[in-house]
Amino acid sequence: MSNLIKFKIDGVECMAEAGTYIIEAAKKNGVYIPTLCNMPNLKPKGSCRICTVKINGRLMTSCTTPVADGMEIESTSAEISELRKSIIELLFVSGNHFCPSCEKSGNCELQALGYLYQMMVPRFPFDFPVKGIDASSPKIIKDQNRCILCKRCIKSIKDAEDRSFFAFRGRGNHLEVVLDAELASTMTDAQAEEAMRNCPVGSIIVKEKGFAIPIGKRKFDHNPIGSNVKV
């Protein structure tokens, strides 16, 4: 705790250790910045763009940018909030997200952010892309309709030899996250549970188990996402 620096988020004085990523530093100061792809303790790859803030007139992702002394960060301005809301809407129209029939409803971070940013009807036309569901592995179902390509499973679920179970396939708007057929057969229950937990949406679902926690008692059913951070 020797190397403390000062910075501001939306005018509020904050302190953190130099080199901390903005998103973590903000959290420590009771300021919530939304995230969909970031995971504590894993190398960030700013891909969802939802944590975008403005620094010195420039858009930066707070999960990948370390705080610096005297930094002034804009996170709740009308411009940034609108940007985040439009990214949420964009994610909704680019996949097929039918919340009422989804096992993750209430635990889904995308849904929770939709509520937080008061999304009513997306401003963009729905694309209704044709996407598949892979249920061929013993432990999990990978539903591409709901995948937001956050990379969390790719980065976090590895076998004993540090090989990834998940990886990207393709690029651009054909990008998918797929499961290694061979490694999938070695996946443990614990790994499957963890993969499902790490997935911010309902793209990874553990097989033969459903609605263990009933709707109404789930993570975001009573408290909006981010409320655990706020002081």
């Binding site: 960030p44 790859k45 700013g46 891909s47 969802c48 763009r49 939802i50 975008t52 858009l59 992702t61 990948t64 940018t65 370390p66 940007l83 439009s86 990214i87 964009l90 994610l91 129209v93 680019s94 401003r123 963009f124 036309p125 694309d127 937001i148 390509l149 990379k151 076998d159 030899e161 090989r163 990834s164 179970f165 998940f166 990886a167 990207f168 396939r169 393709g170 690029r171 651009g172 708007n173 054909h174 990008l175 797929v178 499961l179 290694d180 057929a181 061979e182 490694l183």
Partner: protein, 602 residues
């Protein structure tokens, strides 16, 4: 097969950082990368099979399915269309007997689309098994396909009609023309290779080299325009066991082809520039990252490197300077525009998908294999040699105050003399059009699809970092062109195909905008669509790299500079649309059930 794959993996020391080289070799050997080969690679490199596949599926020229004994990649850039691509495409499909995206049943010929291959001055052009075929006509297409069926060698298909200049070099023998139409300090023939490394560097310290580059005020020629001297200085100061020099020869921006010409006609200048940079930053290794489309230059460039090694312009103790050791190797991309972005390029060099990195840190601090690295454009390195030879002060007499020196332009489209022109910065667009013989011009695309589309009222503007900044791509469109349908739509499709897909914004927004543009082109647009496009385009600015940040530019800049084209297309009587056309839907459903709609009820 197994043995060959093993040999290839061995050749690259079973190093997963060389996965790209391994994959390219396997692709070339077998025409595809089989499941068995993937298994072998995964096993030997200690990674999962999906990890190998995610690299393969990222790159356009790598494939898990056979691409045919002859894989034909026909350029689909806008200029290719302007010069008859449609007829060429049809001729290929008819003669080959299959459609694009497919391989013939006998596995002989595959037909594929591909983004700009850097031949805009000699379209339509295609790449067939790494050889470039330019200025295609339906007759030529029929002949080529016939010869393939007869089992002739690729060499024989070329008709021995080689291009100008070094394209006739025995190691090159390319059908490509350099089309140099104006020479300046880089393309001129008054430089003797090795002069700087052998007779000037021995008198200069690395710091003095950097000072001279800074004094010249040269800025990067790849498009972003970062001051080169500062980049070299940051890198020299960055701590690291090794320092790397990387030359960016990805040249993926549609409409640029000047790096192809520089590498064909003046490769020695580029390599010497890399050596100068190595001396300046204290690096011993240089890598030329060459786009796969220019694979046909491989043997030629290797031969140039060999010759330079023989002359001790590369190797150890260059110019008899103690400790000045520097060598260069060539590594290839495999078809991905985004790999021209410097951090994506580094990922690709490390054998990965070309997904740009988050910045900071910048490559000068953590670059190739996390060592401090400078990445510069082909032209930047070539220019650096002349700066060290003649001095930074000499250099500033060319160009303008904020844009010193010369710039090599790749000019194509509707003009008499497409080709490469080296001009002083500060040249205005009007003069440029007169220089190349372009008449009845409607618009000029400056800087490729990621740049801007300008109209006549801006032709007085000058080329330079503070006015019209450009990496050199200039595409001219005559009055006869339908800008929205032929040009803007094509550019949007380019970005959709080329996004790495990592950012939510860049993966999805260009498609949304493209769909809306299509709606407008189809006469279904309303006024609100125009304001939507303008607003929505801003969301792209939250993307990680320049590709996403500029992916809306074709629409945004045409909306600004050719607003009337949009106004002409939208429905005048409608402010917004209902999103659902009742009449059309009734008509459609009636058609299916065989009824006659009756709209006169009310």
């Amino acid at each position: 097969m197994e043995n060959i794959v093993k040999q290839i993996i061995d050749k690259y020391g079973s190093d997963s950082n060389r996965l790209m080289d391994i994959l390219i070799d396997i692709q070339e050997e077998f025409g595809y990368i089989s499941r068995k080969a993937i298994e072998l690679m995964a096993l030997t490199l200690g990674i999962s099979q999906v990890d190998v596949e995610q690299v393969i599926t990222f790159y356009h020229f790598l494939s898990v399915k056979p691409r045919g004994k002859y894989a034909i990649y026909l350029n689909n850039s806008v200029v290719s269309y302007m010069f008859g691509r449609q007829a060429i495409k049809e001729a290929f499909e008819k003669e080959v007997g299959t459609t694009f995206g497919k391989v013939t049943d006998d596995g002989l010929i595959g037909l594929f689309d591909t983004a700009c291959i850097g031949m805009n001055d000699q379209e339509p052009a295609a790449i067939i098994n790494n050889k470039v075929f330019t200025r295609l006509t339906p007759y030529r297409v029929r002949e080529i396909v016939r010869h393939m069926r007869e089992g002739r060698e690729l060499e024989e298909l070329s008709n021995e009609s080689y291009g100008d200049g070094k394209n006739q070099h025995p190691e090159l023998k390319a059908m490509v023309s350099s089309n140099i139409r104006r020479k300046g300090m880089i393309l001129s023939d008054d430089y003797k290779t090795g002069k700087v490394v052998q007779s000037i560097l021995p008198e200069m310290s690395p710091e003095a080299v950097i000072a001279e580059i800074k004094h010249s005020h040269i800025r990067g020629r790849g498009g972003a325009g970062f001051p080169t001297g500062f980049k070299w200085e940051f890198c020299r100061r960055a701590k690291g066991e090794k320092h790397y020099v990387v030359c960016n020869a990805d040249e993926g921006e549609p409409g640029t082809f000047k790096d192809r010409v520089i590498l064909t006609e003046k490769p020695e200048l580029v390599f010497e520039g890399m050596a100068v940079a190595g001396y300046a930053i204290g690096g011993e290794e240089g890598i030329l990252y060459l786009r796969y489309e220019y694979r046909y230059m491989k043997d030629y460039l290797e031969s140039v490197l060999d010759k330079m090694r023989e002359q001790n312009f590369l190797g150890s103790k260059i110019g008899e300077i103690e400790g000045f050791d520097f060598d260069i190797r060539i590594q290839f991309g495999a078809g991905a525009y985004v790999c021209g972005e410097e951090s994506a390029l580094l990922e690709s060099l490390e054998g990965k998908r070309g997904e740009p990195r988050d910045k900071p840190p910048f490559p000068v601090e953590k670059g190739y294999l996390n060592f401090p690295t400078i990445i510069n454009n082909v032209e930047t390195f070539a220019t650096a040699v002349r700066i060290i030879e003649k001095g930074g002060e000499w250099f500033t007499q060319f160009g303008t105050e904020d844009s010193t020196g010369t710039k090599i332009l790749s000019i194509s489209g509707d003009c008499m003399f497409p080709g490469v022109y080296e001009v002083n910065w500060g040249f205005n667009v009007e003069d440029m059009l007169d220089m190349v013989g372009a008449y009845d011009v409607q618009a000029v695309q400056v800087g490729g699809p990621s740049g801007t589309l300008i109209a006549k009222d801006e032709f007085h503007r000058t080329l330079g970092y503070s006015d019209l900044s450009t990496g050199g791509s200039m595409i001219i469109f005559g009055k006869q062109r339908n800008l929205l349908k032929e040009v803007v739509l094509n550019f949007m499709e380019f970005f959709i195909d080329e996004s790495c897909g990592s950012c939510s914004t860049c993966r999805n927004m260009p498609q949304v905008m493209h769909n809306k543009l299509l709606k407008i082109i189809n006469g279904k647009g309303v006024k609100k669509d125009l304001t939507d496009l303008k607003e929505w385009g801003k969301i792209l600015l939250a993307s990680r790299c320049g590709l996403g940040q500029t992916a809306g530019n074709p629409i945004i800049s045409s909306l600004k500079n050719f607003h009337h084209l949009y106004e002409d297309l939208i429905q005048k009587d409608k402010e917004f649309d209902e999103g659902f056309d009742l009449t059309a839907s009734v008509k459609e459903s009636c058609k299916f059930v065989g009824r006659v709609p009756n709209f006169n009820h009310h």
